[in-house]
């Protein structure tokens, strides 16, 4: 009998331990996913911050460039650089036939002509001389150099031919291939060519959208929260507003995209694909988040503050505006930043209002067509070229970096400035 009891107790203790283990492993799983996730993004993305350059000797032959003696600045601008650019690539292999020359040309980006031109514009004395110029390697060679490209594939499944690889290996052996920090990733707009594509246009698009979103959502949300928390009478109508806000906070983001498309574009005829429309759409989405945060922090201000102000003869409006609202600001601000961080990562509504258009210029105002960082991630992730994979990961790293900074900022505001009432 006694033994039986002990067995039962043991069984119960074992069940207890098992249950505890389940809980621990659940947390472990969640954290494992997070780690794999971050590891994967970083391991594929970090190489995008490096860019491969081929160092190619270029002879600035005045005749090939169709230049006269003592050319002016304009002449240099208008000169024909294609021939010398082509020739310098072809000279890498003196025995190359026509097909091979073409392949040689494709070892660098199509931008190589411009790069040679810039070199000469910087130093006009180069005419007639030979200089080694840094040329952006094509994205495939870039990937080969970074070791992301399987060289053992059969040739017809690769975008890099055996011949190109041979020449490339010669260049590597001669130390004519260099890897440097990829500035153009941050300064270039999007491009169809992976080696030239950068995040500048989508970054500016994101900044503009977030600014528009902030300028609309913040004032409206704060005013609405003040009304609902401090002035609204308790009746059916304000209850309805409240239910509305809570529901809006849980409406799928793509529905806001449909709203932007159906109302802002179709009825108000605002310009498509612009951060203006994107920002308005995002502001409608973040509105409930900010209202909820602002109400919570207004609620946290103790009634004694209000009572003291009222007792001193302040009107209700003065009490609210001079005392309650300033005291609630830290909480409101950190809620706003978190709402904006959400908006910054939002993709689907922006796709619907056309911010997926291919934009190869950097937008200068919210009225210019633009993409945004998350949309850029989507665009690049959908394109087949291998060179874009690391770009996507790098873009994700930039985006996550911003989100982390914003969230940290929100935390700091909350901890530094929020008054603890007790």
């Amino acid at each position: 009998m006694n033994k039986n009891k002990e067995q039962l107790l043991n069984k119960r203790y074992k069940a207890e331990q098992r249950f505890r283990l389940y809980g621990l492993s659940a947390i472990f799983m969640a954290l494992l996913f997070l780690t794999i996730f971050i590891f994967k993004i970083f391991s594929t993305g970090y190489s995008a911050f490096q860019k491969t350059w081929l160092i190619v000797p270029v002879t600035f032959d005045a005749e090939l460039m169709m230049l006269d003696q003592n050319p002016s600045k304009e002449d240099l601008q208008d000169a024909d650089y294609y021939d010398i650019a082509l020739k310098s690539m072809a000279d890498l292999d003196p025995n190359a036939n026509e097909d091979q020359e073409n392949e040689l040309k494709r070892m660098v980006s199509y931008f190589f002509e411009k790069e040679i031109k810039n070199e000469l514009l910087n130093d006009p004395n180069l005419i007639g001389k030979t200089k080694e110029v840094y040329l952006t390697a094509s994205d495939d060679l870039d990937q080969v150099f970074k070791g992301n490209y399987p060289r053992d594939l059969p040739e017809d499944q690769r975008r890099v031919s055996d011949y190109q690889l041979k020449i490339f290996d010669q260049l590597v052996a001669n130390g004519k291939v260099e890897s440097k920090f990829n500035i153009s990733f941050f300064t270039n707009a999007d491009s169809r060519e992976a080696e030239l594509a950068g995040i500048a246009s989508s970054f500016m698009g994101s900044i503009f959208s977030i600014l528009v979103c902030l300028m609309i959502a913040f004032p409206v949300a704060v005013l609405a929260a003040i009304y609902l928390e401090e002035f609204a009478p308790k009746n059916r109508f304000t209850d309805f507003i409240e239910v509305n806000i809570n529901n809006l906070a849980a409406v799928p983001s793509i529905v806001f995209g449909l709203l932007g498309l159906g109302v802002l574009l179709a009825i108000f005829h605002l310009p498509r694909s612009t951060p203006l429309v994107g920002g308005i759409t995002l502001s409608l989405m973040t509105l409930p988040t900010i209202i909820i945060a602002a109400r919570a922090s207004l609620k946290a201000v103790p009634p004694s503050i209000r009572e003291a102000a009222l007792a001193m003869g302040a009107s209700r409006m003065q009490t609210t505006m001079h005392h309650t609202v300033p005291l609630s600001m830290p909480g409101t601000l950190s809620g706003t930043i978190i709402g904006l961080a959400q908006a910054l990562g939002e993709t689907a509504p922006l796709i619907l209002i056309g911010m997926v258009a291919f934009v190869n210029t950097i937008p200068g105002s919210p009225m210019d067509p633009a993409a945004s960082l998350p949309v850029q991630i989507y665009i690049w992730a959908e394109s087949a070229e291998r060179g874009f994979v690391e770009k996507v990961s790098a873009c994700i790293m930039v985006l996550l970096g911003f989100l982390i900074i914003m969230n940290l900022f929100a935390q700091i505001i909350r901890h530094k400035f929020e008054k603890k009432w007790s």
Binding site: A15, E16, R18, F19, R20, Y22, G23, L24, A26, I27, M29, A30, L31, F33, L34, I41, P219, A221, L223, A224, I226, Y227, F231, A232, F240, I241, N244, I245, N246, N247, L248, A250, V251, P252, I254, V255, L258, L259, L261, G262, V263, L284, L287, S315, R316, A341, G345, T347, A348, I351, V356, P374, V375, I377, Y378, A381, V389, S393, L400, L403
Partner: protein, 461 residues
């Protein structure tokens, strides 16, 4: 032009604030008692300056384009044009006046363009005149009021109160906007496609409904068997189901562990770390699912002799589940912590172990809240877009095999609406109809979930 006028009005507002306050000081210096603090005199004047400007600006923005259009099109009224052609003519002359017109320029259009420009300039200058005179009139009126030292604080506060109230209507306006933008397109859609075919049809090929000209659009036989949404709805719930299979056990167990077992130190670090999962943008999850999880599952399946699509429902659903973990864990954590301590103490007192207490006492007590959090998670899974667009297929298969690709409501909306859309095309309208069903489903889920959670909270407060 508008910007200059606007800046000018803002400046006027500031000056009138200054003059109002100054007037209050002069009243004070005559030993009269002020009815409010001096700045209220300033606010009063500034508000009287801003209101007429705002009203006229908005009226102008609403009516100017229509009136200009009417005036221009009155030239063409007797020539038997159709409405669409008139609209086109108007757009053409507008584009020409901006110098953006690239088509053939006829003398008619050129004349309209000139007329358009002249009308616009007349409108602009009359706007300036009207706005400025209205401001002056209202400011003079208001100045007289403060000079007689009548009340200023009450009107100013009433005005502020009205502003606050208007702001709080924004949420309702947004909801109205959503319903408004969805409902008309949806109604148009169901005029062409019978509701029955949409809800019970099993073939979804919107690409088939490519309309070449408007006469085809009216031929309903063309659309039979193209807009049956059953595969889409099934795919949506199927992927959400897979997601919940991942999210519920992990989320719930970690919520329970954090609330009942974890030391404060573990809780302090583990909780925010898990919540990071909720802060990662969904497009990043989509990329992860498409690049890593999909190929991984495919390889795993091939090694076990299974045929796995690279864009399987399992990959999308699984990754979506990871995304939902923190929603469920945080909410159930909150819910469990708010179960009163007395229930626990009672259970321990009769000799129950911790896990028995959790399973038999706390879990039943917290069940409504947990159900609410799961429902919110389901609503999120149904509305999730990017993961599905990037990691699951875009072709709508009616299947219950998690290794094949399926499609969801959200993915189809994106597929249909990406790029240029023609309003009035059943394909575009189909996207709005899908959006409407998505909105309704998530709305019901949210209302039920929020109500359940609220009821539960009230029970223990």
């Amino acid at each position: 032009m508008n910007l200059i006028l606007f800046t000018f009005i803002v400046l006027l507002g500031f000056t009138s604030y200054y003059f109002g306050r100054k007037k209050a000081y002069t009243i004070q210096s005559t030993k009269k008692r002020l009815t409010a603090l001096p700045q209220f005199y300033g606010y009063y004047l500034a508000i009287w300056c801003a209101i007429p400007a705002f009203i006229i600006f908005s009226l102008w923005a609403i009516f100017e384009p229509t009136i200009v259009k009417l005036l221009i099109l009155s030239d063409y009224s007797n020539q038997g044009y159709l409405d669409d052609e008139l609209n086109l003519l108007y757009e053409k002359s507008k584009a020409l006046s901006r110098g953006q017109f690239t088509g053939e320029i006829t003398p008619f259009i050129e004349a309209s363009a000139e007329k358009y420009l002249s009308l616009r300039s007349i409108a602009q200058s009359s706007k300036v005149v009207i706005v400025l005179s209205a401001i002056i009139a209202s400011v003079v009126y208001a100045y007289k009021r403060i000079s007689s030292n009548s009340r200023t604080r009450e009107p100013v506060e009433k005005f502020l109160n009205a502003v606050l109230f208007t702001a709080s209507l924004a949420a309702i306006l947004t909801t109205v906007g959503i319903v408004f933008s969805l409902i008309f397109q949806t109604i148009d859609f169901f005029k062409v496609i019978p509701l029955f075919d949409f809800v019970f049809g099993t073939h979804w090929y919107p690409a088939k409904a490519f309309v070449r000209d408007s006469s085809e659009a009216l031929d309903p036989t063309m659309y039979s068997d193209t807009f049956g949404a059953v595969p889409i709805f099934a795919g949506t719930f199927f992927i959400a189901f897979i997601a919940m299979c991942v999210a519920i056990p992990i989320g719930l167990m970690s919520g329970i562990y954090l609330a009942e077992y974890a030391s404060t130190k573990v809780r302090q670090y583990a909780k925010p770390l898990i919540e990071i999962l909720a802060g990662i943008p969904t497009v990043v999850y989509g990329f992860f699912a498409a690049l890593t999880v999909g190929p991984f599952l495919k390889e795993l399946g091939t090694s076990m002799g299974l045929e796995v699509s690279a864009e399987s429902a399992l990959a999308a659903g699984g990754v979506m589940g990871i995304m939902i973990i923190p929603f469920i864990s945080s909410l159930s954590d909150d819910v469990i912590t708010s179960v009163p301590q007395s229930l626990r103490d009672g259970s321990y007192a009769i000799g129950a172990t911790k896990s028995e207490t959790i399973k038999r006492v706390i879990f039943p007590a917290a069940l409504p809240g947990i159900v609410g959090s799961i429902l919110l998670g389901v609503s999120r899974a149904i509305g999730e877009t990017m993961i599905v667009v990037m990691a699951s297929g875009l072709a709508a298969n009616l299947t219950l095999n998690p290794l094949e690709s399926t499609s969801t409501i959200t993915a189809q909306i994106v597929v249909i609406l990406i790029g240029d859309q023609a309003f009035g095309d059943p394909k575009t309208q189909a996207a709005f109809a899908l959006g409407m069903s998505l909105f309704l489903v998530t709305l019901c889920l949210n209302i039920v979930a929020l109500r359940v959670v609220k009821k539960y909270r009230e029970k223990y407060e």
